[in-house]
């Protein structure tokens, strides 16, 4: 099973997976240049693997939560690639990627939180339980809010690294962002086990900030 995975919920990343093995990967630490770096990355991953888009079995995209503009750059790219190549398209909640990376960092059944940077002094977070080699169970979330509202559990991801005084940051994960390779691995495991995947509806979690205008203000006082 050949999968192209993309995630732009925090930094931009892309990966090519061949039967659960990460064959090619790209990641950028820049959180604001997704529209510039993603397409060249996809092009070079395919070229390096000697593959054409139509060879793929699926395109998978991280659907957030994440800052809106970057998130959309990845989702519109994934939708367009899948449309042109005529291959199946799936979505994975982006925090699931970090949860997948943290699945073996504690005993089966243990609970933990994944948190990423939501800017505006807030984090995106979700609570999970480990299930051995199976995909961790999502128990609660995703949510957006201040670190003070995050459950008192070990916290994985950059959100923990940003608020170390409030969150119990798990070692080695303080700077972790959702990564496309893990997005792809989550999708593959779900597909192999016949578990449902999401569509690519973005998880914005915040309204657009638009305000319905109030009554006319006086021009003169």
């Amino acid at each position: 099973m050949l999968i192209l995975a993309l995630d732009t919920s925090a930094a931009a990343s892309a990966a090519l997976l061949d039967d659960g093995v990460v064959a090619q990967r790209f990641s950028s630490t820049d959180t604001r240049a997704h529209a510039e770096v993603l397409a060249p990355a996809v092009q070079s991953l395919l070229a390096a693997a000697g593959l054409a888009g139509r060879d793929l079995d699926a395109v998978v995209a991280g659907v957030g939560p994440g800052p809106f503009t970057g998130l959309r750059a990845g989702l519109v790219a994934a939708r367009t690639l899948a449309f042109v190549w005529d291959v199946p398209l799936h979505g994975v909640m982006s925090l699931d990627a970090i949860a997948y990376d943290a699945r073996a960092d504690g005993p089966e059944g243990s609970e933990f939180v994944v948190a990423t940077d939501a800017r505006r002094s807030e984090v995106y977070w979700a609570r999970y339980a480990r299930r051995g080699n199976d995909l961790p169970s999502l128990l609660d979330g995703p949510h957006v809010g201040t670190a003070a509202n995050v459950p008192d559990l070990p916290v994985y991801g950059r959100g923990a690294g940003l608020y170390p005084e409030m969150l119990a940051a798990a070692r080695g994960f303080e700077a972790a962002n959702p990564d496309a390779a893990s997005i792809g691995l989550v999708a593959r495991q779900a597909l192999v086990q016949g578990l449902p995947l999401r569509d690519t509806t973005p998880l914005y979690l915040r309204e657009s900030d638009a305000k319905v205008p109030g009554p006319r203000k006086r021009a003169t006082l």
């Binding site: 770096v37 092009q43 809106f68 503009t69 939708r79």
Partner: protein, 362 residues
């Protein structure tokens, strides 16, 4: 690549219209537009985040529809063109990301082009100019997002900005004034309609940047000889309503709408015609969404005729933002031997008109 009559797919997402158009040289094959205008009604103006969300969901369906409308496949096309700016940053980002993915998936060359010059590009389509773009051409672009007067030496290589609004776009002034008058959104059609029942000389609203210190003379132009300013108008309209309220009288809404509209179209057309006559422009193309405004067309026609300028107004569906105009300009750039932009360029929300197509180094 067919450089004579290239089949170009154009993508537009700089404001609230998601447009995909297909053009073969100067022949229009499809012009599919999905607008999020209705979602902005309750806010009285375009909300960038709402427009961006709508672009994401509209893109693939609009692309699919445009290909169906044109009866072509992606294999058939020679190139892709996309609006790289100017426009709303988050909105541009959706169209550009989609266009880059389309270029990667199809292997077709991508041209990142200027939205304002693309408005002139529609002049290439159909029988707008049956003999091609005339020499000594100017373009007056009036919309909710921009207000500019351009000199077009060559559409693919030589475009100059002669003047522009220094604050609100004319369409924005219509929207804000319509909100003050309780006429709803979009403001242009509502004010245009009501103005027909009012007296355009009832109230004298200011014509921005027309004082001698801004205008100067033809020999010694002032700092804003061909520029506009519309931000003072909404305050002036609000003041006049308060004046009637204070006197315990109902505000004469039709007279206010007509007087406001007259102020806008008077200063737009006066400065545009001045810019034309002083820059050797003998043909003027009127574009942008506000080109549909009846009074603007009427006064522009009158003043252009008096100044010996031929005025051309493309059909309304080509005046508002659309993908066909992007494709049309792309085709002209290819005809002129322009190089593709690659897939590494960045959007530029304030892209100057002198940058008609981005280079690979951008």
């Amino acid at each position: 690549m067919n450089r004579t009559d290239p089949l170009v797919l154009g993508i537009e997402s700089s404001c609230d219209e998601t447009g995909v158009g297909l053009v073969a040289g100067t022949r229009l094959l499809a012009n599919t537009v999905s607008s999020s205008m209705q979602e902005h009604v309750r806010f009285g103006g375009v909300i960038p985040e709402i427009a961006s969300r709508a672009h994401l969901d509209a893109f693939v369906p609009t692309l699919r529809q445009a290909l169906d409308d044109a009866g072509v496949t992606l294999e058939d096309i020679d190139a892709i063109a996309v609006t790289a700016g100017p426009g709303l940053s988050g909105a541009l980002m959706v169209g550009v990301s989609a266009a880059k993915a389309l270029a990667v998936a199809t292997g077709k060359p991508l041209f990142a082009i200027n939205h304002l010059v693309a408005h002139v590009g529609v002049g290439m389509l159909g029988d707008t100019f049956p003999h091609g773009l005339p020499p000594r051409l100017g373009a007056l672009l009036v919309s909710g997002g921009h207000t500019e007067i351009l000199r077009v030496g060559s559409i693919a290589t030589d475009v100059e900005l002669l003047g522009s609004t220094i604050d609100d776009a004319a369409g924005e002034a219509y929207d804000k004034t319509a909100r003050i008058l309780g006429l709803g959104y979009p403001g242009g059609p509502a004010i245009d309609r009501l103005a027909k029942e009012g007296n355009p000389t009832a109230i004298r609203y200011p014509r921005g940047l027309t004082q001698p210190k801004y205008m100067g003379s033809a020999e010694q132009p002032g700092p804003h000889r061909y520029d506009w300013s519309f931000s003072g108008l909404k305050t002036a309209v609000a003041r006049s309503i308060e004046h009637f309220e204070a006197a315990g009288q109902p505000a004469p809404v039709a007279d206010i709408a007509a007087s406001f509209q007259e102020a806008v179209v008077d200063v737009i057309t006066a400065k545009a015609v001045l810019a034309c006559t002083e820059n050797g422009i003998t043909h003027l193309l009127l574009g942008g969404g506000v080109a549909a405004n009846a009074r603007l067309r009427e006064l522009a026609a009158e003043r252009c005729a008096a100044a010996g300028i031929d005025l051309t107004v493309p059909s309304p569906s080509l005046c508002t933002d659309n993908g066909a105009m992007v494709a049309a300009l792309g085709a002209q750039i290819i005809r002129a031997g322009g190089a593709p932009s690659g897939i590494g360029f960045a959007t530029d929300s304030s892209l100057p008109v002198t940058r008609i197509v981005l280079g690979t180094a951008d």
